[in-house]
């Protein structure tokens, strides 16, 4: 990513140095008395990518929204860069979110704005001069290889292009934490692979901490078993039997975290549910 995108956006709220990007402590939440997440505890370390797997309806998207303070848990505590967001007011969380980028399931682009305004939204909200917005939007769109779409509207783009624009919007303010909610959901295999390459690039080139939800096991294992070569601008497979050390797995089932560990632990687990899920 160009140097201009590496400068953090001005904010009164800054991540506390040395604090973990995300810590969940015994978090539970229910909707209409239906307990969606039960006593969830885990951590995300600096530069780490946590791949969150689980059947549909297991509470993955809820967990991601909790991590960004978009909803509040019924019990438990959530820390983001050392700040307990479960005890913060909404306006304080707004400041914290300048350090967090989020990619929504369907992109969630603003359909009344063109791509330039969508990607540059956060910068415009911080009153960055228009010339600088243009420059940084172009750089972010180049990163996702969509620099010719500035003046188009989301409805004029394909599903895969919209997800890539959503990634550009999430990374433009150089967040220290990225939350991806099924970025490849509903896309064809080729487009999915392109998006996984972008996520890998963000992980291996900029070492951004992230949580990624996916239903596609092949995408998860591609992230775990490949690295991004900046020189060749492509994904390269790690040697047989090796996995990326900064990438680990979590598995949700019926609102409970049934697995939290490395790629090696996951594939060698004797747990019947894990075996069935992975088969």
């Amino acid at each position: 990513m160009p140097a201009a995108l590496q400068e953090p956006t001005a904010s009164r709220f800054q991540p506390k140095p040395g604090e973990l990007p995300v810590v969940f402590e015994d978090v539970s939440i229910a909707f209409d008395r239906n307990e969606v997440l039960k006593h969830i505890s885990f951590q995300v370390k600096h530069g780490e990518t946590r791949l969150l797997l689980g059947p549909a309806g297991s509470g993955k998207s809820v967990l991601l929204k909790l991590a960004n303070g978009l909803i509040r848990p019924d019990s438990g505590r959530i820390f983001v860069f050392g700040h307990e967001i479960t005890a913060m007011e909404e306006k304080e969380i707004f400041e914290l979110r300048s350090a967090v980028g989020m990619v929504f399931q369907e992109g969630a682009l603003f359909d009344s704005m063109n791509i330039r305004d969508n990607v540059g939204f956060q910068l415009m909200e911080h009153h960055v001069p228009a010339d600088e917005v243009d420059q940084r939007v172009e750089e972010a769109l180049k990163f996702v290889e969509l620099d010719k779409t500035m003046e188009k509207f989301p409805s004029q783009l394909s599903g895969g292009m919209r997800r890539r624009v959503a990634i550009a919007r999430a990374i433009i303010a150089k967040p220290s934490l990225l939350l991806y909610d099924s970025p490849t959901g509903g896309l064809d295999p080729i487009t999915s692979t392109n998006i996984i390459a972008l996520i890998m690039k963000q992980r291996d080139v900029y070492h951004t901490s992230s949580i990624l939800i996916t239903h596609r096991l092949q995408d998860a294992f591609m992230l775990a078993t490949h690295y991004f070569d900046k020189e060749k601008n492509t994904m390269i497979a790690l040697p047989e039997g090796e996995a990326d050390r900064d990438t680990s797995f979590m598995l949700l089932h019926e609102g409970k975290l049934v697995f939290d560990g490395s790629t090696h632990d996951l594939v060698h687990s004797d747990d019947p549910f894990l075996k069935e899920y992975l088969s």
């Binding site: 306006k91 707004f94 979110r97 967090v100 989020m102 399931q105 682009l109 939204f121």
Partner: protein, 278 residues
């Protein structure tokens, strides 16, 4: 909540178990109270956010253009024909008492005190409360509101406050347009269809008006504008259940805003008549 053992026994048994209707009533009452509470919270937040930064002045102008300028044709048409039909109907009744000279008085007082504010607000409600509910509702169901929050922007300040300010201001001026056009509509009928004197019509229309009448006619659109925007935004922001939910929110917004306008109109009228005696 209703005990599980009762829920599993089927409709026939439930009919003979008193807890079911009470549980339904209980749920309905709770839902209604929570809706009022949520509406009050949204309205309160919108008012307090008026005095907080950031202020989205450009968004206020954009909304004023959509809500105000875009509504001018329907307000002119409604106002003109309301004034016209008022003159037509009242002149036949006034003729019974030999008081057709009072047509101007009746039209101007009716338009400025009641029909101008109420009919304009009902038209704006039909056009804009539905528009706000559907626009914001679509943003909710497609996660655009969550995306906005995730990008560090408060949707209350960015989306709700500009709509509220624009609606209150523009409804005020649209009502003045409606009052003016309505009086002219009445004049058109009085002069060209009923053969009355134009100068007499305008003279009586002007002479009969007193400051409390004008004040009443100008206070109402401010309250009505607030109702239109707050109800439209409330139903939009609380939309659940996909595109079907958007449709439901849109309908509810128009119905609730229209009913509230008429109820609040009665309350304001009673209050101002109590103060000014007319």
């Amino acid at each position: 909540m209703f005990p599980v053992r009762y829920r599993r026994v089927g409709i026939a048994v439930c009919r003979y178990n008193s807890p079911m209707p009470f549980a339904t009533l209980d749920g309905f009452a709770k839902k209604s109270v929570r809706s009022v509470q949520d509406y009050a919270t949204l309205s309160g937040q919108a008012i307090t956010n008026l005095f907080r930064r950031p202020r989205y002045v450009n968004d206020i102008f954009t909304q004023a253009d959509i809500i105000g300028v875009g509504s001018i044709p329907i307000v002119i048409l409604t106002g003109f024909f309301t004034g016209a039909v008022l003159a037509l109907q009242s002149s036949s009744s006034l003729a019974t008492f030999g008081a057709t000279a009072l047509t101007g008085t009746l039209v101007s007082l009716s338009m400025i005190k009641e029909l101008g504010p109420v009919l304009t607000s009902l038209m704006i409600s039909g056009r804009n409360a539905s528009g706000m509910a559907s626009e914001l509702g679509s943003m909710v169901v497609t996660e655009q509101i969550d995306a906005m929050r995730a990008l560090g922007t408060d949707p209350m300040k960015k989306l709700v406050v500009p709509r509220m300010v624009a609606t209150v201001v523009m409804n005020f001026f649209l009502t003045i347009i409606s009052d003016t056009v309505g009086t002219l509509g009445g004049a058109f009928v009085a002069v060209y269809l009923l053969g009355q004197s134009g100068s007499q019509y305008f003279h009586t229309a002007y002479q009969s008006l007193q400051y409390p009448d004008v004040l009443q006619g100008l206070v109402k659109p401010i309250f009505f504008g607030f109702i239109i925007a707050s109800v439209g935004c409330y139903f939009g922001m609380s939309t659940r259940g996909g595109t079907q939910g958007v449709g439901r929110s849109t309908t509810q917004a128009v119905v609730v805003a229209s009913v509230l306008i008429i109820v609040i109109d009665f309350i304001i009228s009673r209050f101002m008549i109590g103060i000014f005696g007319r």
